[in-house]
Symmetry: C2
Subunit: 381 residues, 2 copies
């Protein structure tokens, strides 16, 4: 299902192809986040026009609303949301540990209260895989335990042990026809734990491997380190997915460290506050500097927003709370993420990725504000 | 500029064609409301796909934000919002009287405080026409005084006198190249005042005539009466526009009473609360009855939302506050209004309008809730 087409000569970057039931995904790839069955403010036609190959759905959220009875009646998530390209579903593990109120970790899962109405729910490997089977996603994720980045060593160790045990349980569950299942490597920034977790998962022969426990509030160097600790223990012929990441610069940095797949709510989240991403960084479109700026959000950009509207107009729409404003910035930012990975693939194919990488990182200036937005963003994914 | 193509044999309905600088508008027509330079939640491509011929902009709102300096720098409203079809702009008279805080009516206009920041502003015939000249709309409206429907007789009389005097002032102002100007007939439900106002305006030879002082909280029969009182005094060879109306049934009723043009915020406003219009009335999509209803919003509808999504999915999106939900219902409702007027024109051309009219009114059941929404809607137009 995953073909490694090429490995970069100067970095660990990889060009690949993941074949799923609903089509082929070229990697490295950015996957747009459709937590509740919709990429925020963007419709499927717009997603396809910008070259989106795969989107995410979320087990925890979709199980609460609309619930599996309705998804089952609709014939699965693809039909329910009318998206006939690949879907990856997260297992709900992350949300149970970050979002749910009052949780009790048990042997076969977690008892918790819904973040919405406080009702008592239970989610474990068996339940999560069953939900993902009903959703019919192309890639299902195992149910893991994701501790906070500053959790004590003992909690990190327990989380790794539990994650391995639950991964095994997930591995044994029935799947939807043609569904791939990825393991999730935990272990924080502890080299032994990352190695232990990666090796145990690899022994179970999953269809791909995610690096979890990143984008949980840790500083950027620690995030890079976590990936660097896990990566050498993952097999070259399987896809690697860094969960919940990141800024454009972080994605390019992680491609260079051997990561193939990314997902992040940042492009749509910051768009709703009026922040636009460009190849040089990001800027707040609401600012007075743009009130008579009749250039597109990013010069040379081919997205629907940049082809039709000016900064001055979008700034006005954002400032008077018109929905078309946040729609267009969401669209531009998501397009920017998707195209960035297209460029990464093109330079990998051409053998020029190392130059592209150096140049991109030198030009892209991430703001402190964006890095702190990751804190809030993690609650939304 | 207005050609009367056909008058219905059994009703007062008219088939016509209004030629403007940015193109031809077939009448009867529904004009979508883009108060602040954007039809709420719908982008220009979607508007064009559904057959939109003309949209509205608002002098009062656009003058406050983004302000005329920016619109002028953009080269007018069409360029600023990237809409190259006709635009009609309201004069701001309605907003000054319904929205602004603390106003002082003077000889040449109204001194008032901005509803946003309380800053002191002045709007009168001269200012309104100058703003509309800068906006470069295809149809400008005169600056009128619109009293409440239950205003005392003396206020109604004063409003008519002032409206006539201000209309004359507007008539004398310079216009944008090719800009049409419509007069606005006031007079509430008083036959003498309606006649006096209509005749005075007609003597000034405007390019078209609006019936104002409707959709200001009056009961429906009073609204119909106001139109019936004004209509006989308006010349057949000029377009007639009923301002701020209405429900689908009200529009069809008013077509039968000789009205050619309509605008209303209802289709997008109620959409944001999850209410969908159909040929039979309206329903709240958020209701539990639709949770596993996999039909489109309206069977047989050809809009983007109905071609792609089910009630069950849109209900879910509305209930979890996903923007694509309210986008799609806004789109469907606006499409329904636009297509309803297309059907009206087709039946007028075929000579079958009277049958269509009877059948539509018999089938369409307006809800009390929708009629009361008009109360809130008037604040938004």
């Amino acid at each position: 299902m995953f073909e490694l087409l090429k490995t970069d000569a100067q970095t660990k970057a990889r060009l690949g192809r993941l074949t799923t039931k609903h089509g082929v995904v070229d990697t490295p790839v950015f996957m747009s986040v459709g937590t509740q069955g919709s990429v925020k403010a963007i419709d499927p036609r717009e997603l396809i026009e910008m070259g989106t190959q795969i989107i995410l759905g979320n087990t925890y959220h979709l199980n609460i609303r609309p619930g599996m009875e309705i998804i089952k009646a609709a014939g699965g998530l693809h039909n329910f949301i009318n998206w006939q390209k690949p879907i990856l579903t997260d297992s709900g593990g992350f949300q149970v540990f970050s979002l749910a109120k009052i949780r009790k970790v048990k042997t076969h899962g977690v008892e918790f209260r819904s973040h919405l109405d406080g009702s008592k729910l239970f989610l474990g490997p068996k339940e999560s895989m069953e939900i993902q089977r009903i959703l019919g996603s192309d890639v299902a994720m195992v149910f893991d335990e994701c501790p906070a980045h500053d959790a004590p060593a003992r909690d990190q160790r327990n989380a790794v042990e539990r994650t391995i045990r639950w991964a095994k349980e997930c591995r044994e569950q029935p799947r939807a026809e043609g569904q791939l299942v990825f393991g999730i490597c935990q272990g924080g920034s502890n080299p032994e734990l990352r190695e232990q977790c990666a090796k145990a998962l690899v022994a179970m022969e999953f269809d791909g491997y995610a690096i979890g426990g990143v984008s949980v509030g840790e500083p950027e160097p620690e995030m890079m380190k976590a990936v660097e600790l896990a990566e050498p223990h993952l097999p070259a012929h399987k896809a690697r997915y860094a969960m919940g990441l990141g800024t454009p610069a972080q994605m390019v940095e992680l491609v260079a460290r051997g990561v193939d797949m990314f997902d992040c709510v940042l492009p749509t989240r910051v768009a709703r506050n009026g922040t636009a991403f460009t190849r040089k960084g990001q800027y707040g479109l609401k600012g007075g500097a743009y009130k008579a700026d009749f250039r597109p959000i990013e010069e040379g950009c081919e997205c629907f927003a940049c082809k039709h509207f000016t900064r001055a107009y979008l700034r006005h729409l954002l400032n008077v709370n018109e929905i078309v404003g946040l729609r267009m910035v969401s669209l531009h930012n998501t397009h920017m993420y998707v195209k960035l990975m297209e460029d990464v693939r093109a330079t990998l194919a051409a053998g020029t990725f190392a130059d592209f990488y150096r140049e991109f990182i030198a030009n892209f200036v991430p703001s402190k504000k964006i890095l702190s937005e990751r804190e809030v963003a993690k609650l939304e994914r």
